[in-house]
């Protein structure tokens, strides 16, 4: 049985056409030949999964595309989505020595995509260890990048991995939460299907939300990997936030990516200044909103979004309102919202409201985008797994929690980073689980 897929949605594709189109074959070879093939390359070191970047690039240059893809997959099973979503400016491409050579950095992301697309188009499978008896059984809770990476690494090395996903589609934020112009949901699902073909078992619709459910998993599996990500979007905590006309950023992104939200009109206000806020604001523009404001209580220099995301949003026509805090939402005529805001000013890190600076913005949709809350409810059920500040505490090199049968990786550990960080965490945990099992077998 294949992973469920989404129907090809032409309108969606048109509205969210790819930000960075793929390289043509000859362009890829030319770009690959620019690579200096650094020793112990800084790009490799900068990548959380330590992909052998010069190694895969030289294989593109030589025409060994399958070898190139395998080199990527050895380090990062989600090489295809990472090629599309990684903030490479602050990772591999940011570390490229070409910056100091007065040249543009090697387009590592596009080259990686080139190799991975060729691999996916070839229909080939990732080789796994042939093990007649996959006696080590591991369950990965959550179907996002961390669990996928953990499961794939276990599977290719002879263990049996099972992924539990509460939503109808796997892939986590890769499927539901990344701007469609960067990573199409269909491409995320194609990648998950590749992992399923490695023998990973998927169980959908199963929410692990009780101690009893966990106990059942403990008796069925040898180890448990927590790749549960973060919880619901944070609420603004202002009057009138409930009800019509308010939709958080992740909900907005998931709705348009799955075809449920097809169009927006009028004015949309996004609150927050992280990368997800930018994704939501850009999406609102592309879905037809005439005016999109991004409201942030601090200034431009404090926004956590990457510089290139900020630049992109400006190009999409998003307008930024700095040092503005929402106070309340009221309902106006014709279903419009009236968002009361106040101007802030900042002394060191302290924010103060400016008296008599209140201002009301009339809008049609309010989109809170101020981060996700930790998945507190589940974590409280996990006896012996220490949680601090909403994050699962792990040994960094192994992902092992304070309960030795439990491992964890991804957003639930790091508080919310990138797909590539989740993959690195999942892979490290898989290797540690295998090692622990090996030790146990010899004991």
């Amino acid at each position: 049985m294949s992973i469920a897929s989404l129907p090809d949605d032409l309108e969606l594709r048109e509205r969210f056409n790819e930000l960075k189109p793929p390289l043509a074959p000859q362009a890829a070879v030319l770009e690959a030949e620019r690579c200096l093939y650094c020793f112990d390359a800084p790009c490799m070191a900068a990548c959380p999964t330590h992909i052998d970047v010069p190694g895969f690039i030289k294989r593109i240059a030589s025409g060994n595309l399958r070898g190139s893809a395998m080199r990527i997959l050895d380090a990062n099973i989600l090489g295809s989505s990472c090629a599309r979503v990684c903030p490479v400016d602050v990772l591999c491409e940011g570390a490229c020595v070409m910056h100091r050579h007065n040249r543009a950095p090697i387009q590592i992301a596009l080259l990686q995509r080139h190799a991975m697309d060729a691999f996916h188009d070839s229909g080939e499978s990732v080789p796994v260890v042939s093990a007649s008896n996959r006696s080590l059984r591991v369950v990965c809770i959550g179907g996002g990048p961390a669990s996928l990476a953990c499961a794939a690494e276990l599977q290719r090395r002879g263990a049996q991995a099972t992924i539990l996903e509460r939503r109808p589609l796997p892939g986590g934020l890769n499927t539901y939460g990344v701007a469609e112009y960067k990573l199409r949901a269909a491409d995320s699902l194609r990648e998950v299907e590749m992992i399923r073909r490695m023998g990973v078992e998927f169980r959908f619709g199963s929410s692990v939300d009780s101690a009893a459910a966990l106990a059942a998993l403990e008796s069925e599996f040898d180890a448990i990997f927590l790749g549960v990500g973060l919880g619901a979007m944070q609420r603004l905590g202002i009057p009138g936030e409930e009800g019509e006309g308010v939709m958080n950023a992740l909900e907005l992104i998931a709705s348009y990516k799955t075809g449920h939200l097809r169009e927006l009109h009028g004015t949309v206000v996004v609150v927050g200044a992280g990368n997800t806020a930018i994704d939501a604001a850009n999406a609102a523009r592309r879905l037809g909103a005439e005016t999109v404001y991004l409201l942030y209580r601090r200034g431009e220099s404090d926004m956590s979004a990457f510089d290139f995301e900020y630049e992109h949003a400006k190009q999409e026509g998003v307008q930024f309102l700095w040092r503005r805090q929402p106070l309340a939402v009221r309902r106006g005529a014709h279903g419009r919202l009236l968002l009361d805001t106040v101007q802030m000013h900042q002394v060191d890190r302290t924010l103060l409201t400016i008296p008599d600076s209140q201002y009301t913005i009339a809008c049609d949709l309010l989109v809170p985008a101020i981060g996700q809350s930790p998945l507190a409810q589940l974590l409280q059920e996990l006896r012996g797994v220490e949680v601090r500040d909403g994050r699962i505490v792990v040994e960094p090199a192994t992902g092992q929690t304070t309960n030795p049968r439990y491992f964890a990786g991804g957003d639930c550990v790091n508080g919310g980073r990138e797909v590539v960080d989740a993959v690195a965490g999942g892979k490290r945990a898989a290797l540690a689980i295998l090692k622990a099992a090996e030790v146990a077998a010899h004991a």
Binding site: L30, C38, M44, V97, H101, R417, V420
Partner: protein, 475 residues
């Protein structure tokens, strides 16, 4: 402005500049040669005239080097496929319209005296300024006892040169094949036969590659290939060596027209410095068109001006005697690599090249602490790589994390840990690191005083044989 005119080359050939088109497709017809002269070429050696041939398709194949097309070029085309009288009629027309430019008739006929006498007379009657005997074509014609079949046998080369000289009134150049163990043997034969000059080198026997889909070598002629003649930038070093060998040998040395991978004024200047009086170009013109000659002429003039040379004769041959036998090199000359920390970009290619290809004396120990001396004292490169793979890295998602990343630099543009360091006590001065370094002027080879007087291998072994003195007393 310096004067780059060529006067009385090989006795009587003059041209407005030393840049001639070699006997090849760019000189196939009078129409082409006249356009070449309009573009600025000083001379042209006509595509070899002889009994017309039938050619095949395809005819060319090439070697690309990374993104650069035609690093090396290979052909299996034969001599002119047009009748002799047509070629000569056009030659007369060209000479009439372009009296200042050199037109050389390249000739190849069957190996009998009458045939050579006849073609020489006809070419000269058409107005050729000189004759070039094609003893070099390595493919096709050689199977019929011509071209390199002549050029590989000194006695044939001498004999035919002598036949030609019996008849010729214009200078006779012999074009040499490199497909022979010592090019001087044929150069000497040509000189003995009375040649007025030489042209070198012709193309080198080659198979440029095998198509990995069809398994047929290139160029593919209906499923089969044949060895061709290799030329283009790749052959320049081979040509320069042969040119130097000829010019340094008194029994070979004659006015020489240098050929082989010349595409720029720089290449041309190198051939002239090794003694050539003119240069011939083919591949570069086939690649980019006749227009390349403009920069060749200008560039040579500008270089001559910067060096203070008024004419080509002022510098021609100055580098010939800078080449010597190995045994005459100074064994006590010592240079070491120096890395400019301000220019280093941290690719660390010099480190891996020194470890895997040289003498293990470039280290990545500026942060961990410098250690000079034996290879055993240093971690091998694989250790460094595995440390990087085992390191924990995370995406800097906040502004503060990104600012911290940026602040992790030392005093140079590149983080100190990635700037290699040369252990000068172990450096043998081989040049490898400076060859691999992608940054101009980053690695320089600096002379260090060895404290020992110059001594060559020849001197050392002669000294040892004659006087049996201990080595230390020599310096």
């Amino acid at each position: 402005m310096p004067d780059i005119r060529v006067r009385n080359f090989a006795g009587a050939i003059s041209s407005p500049n030393p840049f001639w088109l070699a006997s090849a497709p760019p000189t196939n017809t009078g129409e082409m040669i006249m356009r070449a002269f309009d573009a600025g070429w000083g001379g042209a050696v006509w595509k070899t005239i002889g009994e017309p041939v039938t050619n095949v398709s395809s005819r060319y194949s090439s070697i690309d080097w990374q993104s650069q097309r035609i690093m090396g070029f290979n052909n299996i085309e034969l001599i002119s496929d047009r009748p002799v009288e047509e070629n000569l009629r056009e030659m007369a027309e060209v000479k009439k319209r372009y009296p200042q430019n050199a037109v050389i008739a390249s000739l190849m006929v069957a190996s009998n005296r009458e045939a050579w006498h006849e073609i020489v007379a006809r070419a000269e009657n058409a107005g050729a300024d000189g004759l070039e005997l094609n003893f070099g074509c390595p493919h096709g014609m050689s199977e019929r006892g011509m071209g390199s079949a002549v050029g590989q046998v000194p006695e044939y080369a001498e004999m035919i040169t002598a036949w030609v000289k019996e008849k010729a009134r214009t200078p006779v150049l012999v074009k040499l094949t490199p497909n022979i163990s010592d090019i001087r043997t044929v150069a000497r034969a040509a000189k003995r036969g009375g040649a007025d000059g030489l042209s070198a080198i012709n193309t080198i026997n080659s198979i440029t590659g095998v198509d990995l889909d069809t398994l047929v070598p290139r160029p593919n002629v209906d499923g089969k290939s044949s060895h061709g003649g290799y030329c283009g930038p790749a052959v320049k070093p081979i040509a320069l060596n042969m040119v130097q060998q000829i010019m340094a040998d008194s029994e070979s040395a004659l006015p020489l027209s240098g050929i082989g991978g010349i595409g720029t004024w720089r290449d041309a200047a190198e051939f002239l410095l090794l003694g050539c009086g003119t240069v011939q170009v083919c591949t570069a013109a086939m690649h980019y068109g006749y227009r390349i000659v403009e920069d060749m002429a200008e560039g040579l003039e500008n270089w001559m001006r910067s060096k203070g040379f008024a004419t080509i004769e002022d510098f021609r041959g100055l580098s010939v005697h800078r080449v010597t036998e190995w045994k005459h090199l100074n064994l006590n000359y010592k240079i070491v690599a120096r890395i400019d920390e301000q220019k280093c970009i941290g690719c660390d290619l010099c480190h891996i090249a020194c470890w895997d290809g040289a003498h293990q004396c470039i280290h990545l120990d500026r942060v961990t602490g410098p250690v000079d001396g034996h290879v055993e004292l240093h971690p091998v490169p694989a250790v460094k790589e595995s440390e990087s793979r085992a390191s924990l890295a995370a995406t800097p998602v906040t502004r503060r994390e990104r600012a911290m990343d940026a602040a992790m630099h030392g005093p140079y543009p590149t983080p100190l840990a990635r700037i290699p360091r040369v252990d000068e006590t172990e450096c043998v001065g081989c040049n490898l690191c400076s060859c691999v370094c992608p940054v101009d002027g980053c690695i320089t080879m600096v002379r260090v005083d060895s404290g020992v007087a110059p001594e060559t291998w020849d001197e050392r072994t002669r000294g040892a044989a004659c006087t049996a003195q201990p080595e230390s007393s020599i310096g």
